[in-house]
Amino acid sequence: MWKNRKTAKKLKNVFCSYKICGYNLDGLINALYKCKIKLYNVKKDGKILSLTVKRADEEKLFAITKKLCYNNIVKVGESGKSLFIPFLLRNTGVIIGAIILFISAIFFDDILLDFSYTGSGRTEYQEIERALYIKGVKKFSRFSEIDIPILEDELLSETDSFSFISLKKQGNRLVIESALNSRRQQIQNGNAERIISPFSGVVKSVTVYRGTATVVVGDRVEKGDLLVDGYMTIKESITPCNVLAVITVEEEKKIELYFDDFVDKKYVGTLIDGLYEDADDKRIILKRENGKYKYVVKLYYLRRITE
């Protein structure tokens, strides 16, 4: 039964089904009818009468059946369009949980968690990343605070390497599609007979327009190694040519720092960031040596070799 009778009366579209057992069930139907109770789905099966009444008439039903000595009344169920209101009242925890879920879904959908770089300009992603950082767009920024069309224009005007930049929100990720500036690529003169690596490191990208690459992505090269040779294989004949290519090599530098006391890697990282701003990436390894804390910092620089 409802504790709050006013609430029960408000639920006009909620129906309750009952099964009543007894004699003279026709008389009971007439008694209910005379009391102006709307009866629905009245079915009689021997001594059992099943019927549905509105919740607002529930009290009347009990009063009449009690007066007529129908004690065996079983509530079978409830139905109706307004049934969700009592459901809400009974399950406040579920409702609060659903509201929290809904709000958190909206809130977390608005938070930038990652960047993704696509297009030919992804090799120069550090430049975009730097520009975004200056603009205040970093991890855990809110998408609602970013005006994407304006940011696209600003990035394009403030960077030199790109002819096209497009930003797109994909879930919690900001997808940055960029194309390298064709004018910048024109600095390739195509007069070199071969490309020799001026750095030691790992090959990250190989784009050869003319010539033959002697390395593939992932190869480790030392300073002085041949990257692109000045010949082309046309059908079965080898023809000498000048080289036209762009190779990206990730150069690695190692620095060792010693501390008497333990220092958190985070602070070492901040120190390194301040000292080596141009490094594209870094990795810090902590070792114990002669009672001191040795921090091996590996700095990575992306070097673009264009000929």
Partner: protein
């Protein structure tokens, strides 16, 4: 005014007294009764209602009262016969 009332009016039956009963059989599946005064008999094969004068019976199989209030009743089931007593 309902659709049936419109039809009745157009056919000149609008002078039917207000206390007169009305019965509409919908296919073989339902009967709609107006101005009934009470339930006289109810089994799964027969439902009989009091009228102001006499009674009306609905015969059929698996009969049940779909709605019963304020002088109106809808009886559903397999309707076989409607009889004024």
């Amino acid at each position: 005014m309902g659709f049936i009332d419109n039809i009745l009016q157009s056919m000149g039956f609008d002078q039917v007294p207000s206390e007169g009963y009305k019965a509409v059989v919908i296919s073989e599946s339902a009967v709609y009764l107006e101005n009934v005064k009470g339930l006289k008999k109810y089994t799964s094969d027969e439902v009989e209602f009091f009228l102001k004068k006499g009674s009306i019976s609905v015969f059929g199989k698996d009969l049940f009262i779909k709605k019963y209030c304020f002088g109106d009743a809808v009886i559903c089931g397999k309707i076989e016969k409607l009889q004024k007593n």
